[in-house]
Symmetry: C2
Subunit: 330 residues, 2 copies
């Protein structure tokens, strides 16, 4: 599989991107990487590899660039060029840890929607207590959604969970404010009816408070709510870790306690770190467009590359395309 990689995206680019790429080339036999970026910035971290090609680009899409315009205006940026490679059929998938909005806008514009998919959705795997994780979408690609969009999110999530997660019958849950069938707002009530009729293992409404317990394998929601819930989980975990750190540093006694717990606390933090599960995918495009977390280290980049690779190897996109086409005929 051929991956186009944005060498300049993310807080730790290009170092962690290059290191992650080299790690992936070592671990994944059939992977070929086209690395886009400013040659002089990439050089210090590069090692020769027969499945690695470096393509120099002059420009870089910054985190502060206007998402809607960045990729169109910065034609010779690493992000634009990696998407050109997909558009021109030179790469099977692309990946960036840079500006999320620019990647989404560029993905729509250059890679393009699958015919029949009304709205692409941003999807990621979030951690659960049992370490298996669950896929949630949409996380904010579209702030507003209609019931039929949520159905399409569910279909795409189902295929991903089967093909990439290896699940036979992924449990599809609708994120809602109560587990009872009749609960919700106008959107979720209508989406519930559609999901119930669909050829999916729909387990009904799931509540935000049960997500980390692994109540479903795929959780479907509109982008506004998904983004809210994602950031609430992040914010709460962050605040608790801050409070915990303060508590551990508050006296000699607690500092000894911290020393004794050091490894366990690191494990706990890793368990909540969803970058371990790979990046976020913009589902519904004609090729995998993967967004690695902005703060990705080499390992997180590697996870995201592996995820892109699995999506290509397991024909996620063509399965979505066929499924949606089939639905239209019916």
């Amino acid at each position: 599989m051929k991956l186009a990689l944005d060498g300049m995206g993310g807080d730790n680019a290009p170092k962690s991107v290059v290191e992650g790429a080299l790690l992936a080339l070592e671990q994944i036999p059939n992977l070929e990487i086209q690395l886009y970026g400013q040659q002089e910035k990439l050089d210090p971290y590069l090692k020769m590899h027969d499945r690695l090609t470096v393509i120099h680009c002059e420009e870089v899409v910054e985190g502060t660039d206007d998402p809607a315009r960045a990729v169109r205006r910065k034609k010779d940026s690493s992000m634009a060029r990696m998407m050109d490679a997909v558009e021109e059929g030179k790469a099977d998938a692309c990946l960036s840890a840079g500006n999320t909005g620019a990647l989404m806008a560029g993905g729509l514009f250059k890679v393009g929607r699958i015919e029949g998919i009304a709205r692409p959705a941003l999807a990621t795997t979030l951690p659960t207590l049992d370490g298996k994780g669950f896929l949630m979408l949409d996380l904010g690609a579209n702030a507003d959604a209609r019931p039929e969009h949520l159905l399409q999110y569910a279909i795409m999530g189902d295929i991903y969970a089967k093909k990439v997660g290896g699940l036979q019958k992924p449990r599809i849950g609708l994120l809602n404010i109560g587990t009872e069938d009749k609960k919700g707002n106008d959107l979720t009530k209508a989406a519930f009816a559609l999901l119930k009729e669909a050829d999916l293992n729909f387990i009904g409404n799931v509540e935000a408070r049960d997500l980390l317990d692994g109540v479903a394998d795929v959780v479907v929601t509109d982008g506004f709510t998904g983004n809210m819930v994602l950031k609430s989980i992040e914010g709460t975990a962050g605040a608790l870790f801050t409070m915990l750190k303060e508590a551990f540093m508050s006296s000699t006694k607690t500092k000894i306690s911290a020393m004794l717990m050091k490894n366990n606390l690191r494990d706990l933090k890793n368990k909540m770190d969803y970058t371990e599960y790979g990046g976020a995918g913009l589902f519904g495009l004609q090729a995998p467009v993967i967004k690695a977390h902005g703060s990705s280290n080499a390992k997180a980049i590697f996870s995201a590359i592996r995820q892109a690779n699995t999506m290509v190897e397991h024909t996620v996109i063509s399965t979505i395309t066929d499924t949606v086409r089939h639905l239209e005929i019916d």
Copy 2:
């Protein structure tokens, strides 16, 4: 101030309700409590007090009762009777730790909306790292909301934060998926415009991930989103405490660590416990209708009673009524 109290509501009723009531009578000089419930169940915990009246009721609204019907059908329930007392002017406020939906439905039906308030909202104070907390509404009284409802929530929250929280210029934030002015879904974009024009200290959009840092004093959102965020915070905190407990119990070394941290961990858990800040209020009704957390202990009931008392003493309801009337004339 005269409080009508549901003696039978909540997981620890009637014990913790009676104990909380007795504690409140001790601490709040002008408080009179009318305690509604099954006399024989209340008796074991009761002590004589000259400002406490006990009114026997035959029925109890259960947590499993249909919210819309419970109060209408169970006419002689402690919850229905305490709201009758408010409706008939015998009490200034009412409080229950029982069925939230039934309390909301009954509140609308018996206590009634303030004229000009389109939708009452469920509001509660959530914890922040600095211990000050912030008020969030709506937490789920209405799953769907229009922009003008969000404006009314902001006005009510502002008055509450001034009168009860003692703030001069409460910072009003709109919960959104980004801090930039143009961010959001159709609802928040329209609400932003209304809030900007209003006579409020509107600080703009706030993100879910910054809530526990105390980014605003009053956070306004639709009931669906508010409920989601509330439950995400609860669920994440719960999952992390579970993981932390497991980590502390995993070996002899970590058990020693846990012993050394015991008091600090309890403090941390208390800090995240929003029942310490009082109950949830159904704002927009003609009298304070307070919902204490279902798992309330005596201290949480006491906090909620103190909150109801402050709302009455500081004329929150009449200020909301006057403010809304004034807006209608403009």
